[in-house]
């Protein structure tokens, strides 16, 4: 579904991505992990077309994303830090996004808006919201358009345990219905029941790209965090 072919990106001297190759298929749930500054967000932003790679290409359903924008209708993106126009209310932000994407939307998925209770605070202005509530708005927006690919950049950072549980259940549900999910996270324990594949990045390179069952059988560990550390040590 998404194929990343040999892309590189440098920010002046710093090499953020160094000839990356990945293939993501429909129905997979992929965790993208790695230390801070290892290029996870840059990779995601390249797929979204927010960062333009220096070389290489990205294919979405077989078509290159360069100079194309329609493919983004298939993606729901939840940014690490959701930033929205300050003097709009939550309701206005949702209405605006619906309005802008209207032509391409078949059915809306407002489950998260209800489960997070966002519909009760529709007239709150964005600048008055706490970080966690902003995250909820970002999450609800990512799922709103029933996109077939979900890209979530540290989705549960800043959410309270209850909300993060709601979000995780939603992720599992959407993944089961055949959507491709791409998650970056630092909290390995919460990824355990969420993901089917794992990509480990370091210094702009991919160190590991395996399915979870492979990973567990190779390392002989049941817990994801233990399995990863065992693999990292043996490398």
């Amino acid at each position: 579904m998404i194929r990343v072919n040999n892309i590189s990106k440098s920010f002046s001297k710093f090499k953020a991505l160094d000839s990356i190759n990945i293939l993501c298929e429909k129905g997979q749930s992929i965790a993208l992990i790695g230390p801070n500054g290892s290029g996870k967000t840059t990779l995601i932003k390249s797929i979204l077309g927010m960062v333009v790679p220096d070389s290489g290409e990205i294919l979405f359903n077989g078509n290159t994303i360069k100079k194309d924008f329609h493919y983004r209708a298939e993606i729901g993106y939840m940014p690490q830090i959701g930033r929205y126009p300050d003097n709009m209310t939550i309701g206005q932000v949702f209405d605006m996004m619906k309005d802008i994407r209207k032509a391409k939307v078949v059915s809306l998925d407002e489950e998260l808006i209800q489960n997070f209770g966002l519909d009760k605070i529709y007239d709150k202005r964005m600048r008055t919201l706490s970080g966690g509530t902003r995250q909820k708005v970002s999450a609800a927006l990512a799922f709103l358009f029933n996109a077939s690919v979900l890209i979530l950049d540290e989705p549960t950072a800043g959410l309270d345990p209850l909300s993060s549980e709601i979000l995780k259940e939603k992720i599992i549900k959407e993944n089961k219905s055949g959507k491709l999910v791409l998650i970056t996270s630092h909290i390995l324990s919460e990824l355990d029941d969420l993901i089917s594949h794992l990509i480990y990045m370091q210094d702009g390179k991919i160190r590991l790209h395996k399915s979870i069952s492979e990973l567990k059988s190779e390392s002989g560990q049941e817990k994801l965090s233990k399995a990863i550390s065992a693999i990292m040590i043996s490398n």
Binding site: H70, R72, I100
Partner: protein, 255 residues
């Protein structure tokens, strides 16, 4: 085009700055016209203020607005929208609201006191100046990431066009006063939209008789319809060229 444009205009209107700008222009225009007995004199004083204030407000307001808009732009970029479309909507929103503010603030008083061809030309150049400085500010913001640096750049650009450029010209004229520079001056004036607007309007007023030989040469060219069309063309180049460059840059910008 309409949807993003609509949200940008609503957002600009919600931010009261443009409203105050309109009121300010209106108060200044009415005061000047009622102070001077001769409306032509009023028009001249107004021209000097417009040539100072309109570029300043247009460039500073647009620069700050675009920086504050960065969240909104990021949000739009990951939607199925063309980058060019987002950038041009932003330009249209800013250009439309600032020229509309000028139309209301200065256009109405001018039409009341001086409903002549000269008045209309002044309204037209005022609107063009607003749009030109929106385009210039967009070129400045797309190439500068840091907000403080970007605003500093905008102020410097305005200083350059409003003051420094004239100083350089004066220096040049004094240094080469032995040579016939009139023709060259006409070309050079095209490099500063503020000067070009000043000349275009000034030559329609009686005071141009006081400008000596250079004034006569200028009047020979800019005073004709052909010269007027040329100056409008050069002014619109000041919109189109910065806009094309900034759009190109925005299309490959990392966010």
């Amino acid at each position: 085009m309409n949807k993003v444009f609509k949200y940008i205009v609503i957002d600009i209107l919600r931010n009261k700055t443009v409203l105050f700008y309109t009121l300010f222009l209106m108060v200044v225009s009415f005061t000047l016209f009622s102070f001077e007995e001769n409306t032509a004199k009023g028009l001249l004083s107004l021209l000097n203020i417009i040539l100072f204030i309109v570029p300043l407000i247009s460039i500073i307001f647009s620069t700050i607005y675009i920086y504050n808009c960065s969240e909104f732009i990021e949000l739009l970029i990951c939607q199925p929208l063309k980058r060019k479309y987002i950038w041009l909507s932003l330009f249209n929103g800013l250009a439309a609201s600032l020229s509309f503010a000028f139309l209301i603030g200065c256009g109405i008083p001018i039409l009341i006191y001086e409903p002549t061809a000269t008045g209309l030309i002044m309204i037209l150049t005022g609107c063009l100046l607003s749009v030109i400085f929106v385009a210039i500010s967009m070129l400045g913001t797309v190439s500068t990431r840091d907000k403080a640096k970007g605003i500093g750049k905008a102020i410097l650009l305005w200083l350059y066009f409003a003051l420094i450029f004239d100083g350089l010209i004066l220096f040049l004229l004094f240094q080469f006063s032995e040579y016939p520079l009139e023709k060259l001056m006409m070309v050079i004036s095209g490099f500063n939209p503020i000067d070009l607007s000043r000349i275009t309007v000034l030559l329609r007023l009686d005071v141009s008789a006081l400008m000596g030989y250079t004034g006569a040469v200028f009047k020979d060219f800019f005073g004709t319809t052909f010269g007027f069309i040329i100056s409008l063309f050069v002014l619109s180049l000041w919109v189109i060229i910065p806009l094309i460059i900034s759009t190109k840059k925005f299309q490959t910008k990392d966010l």
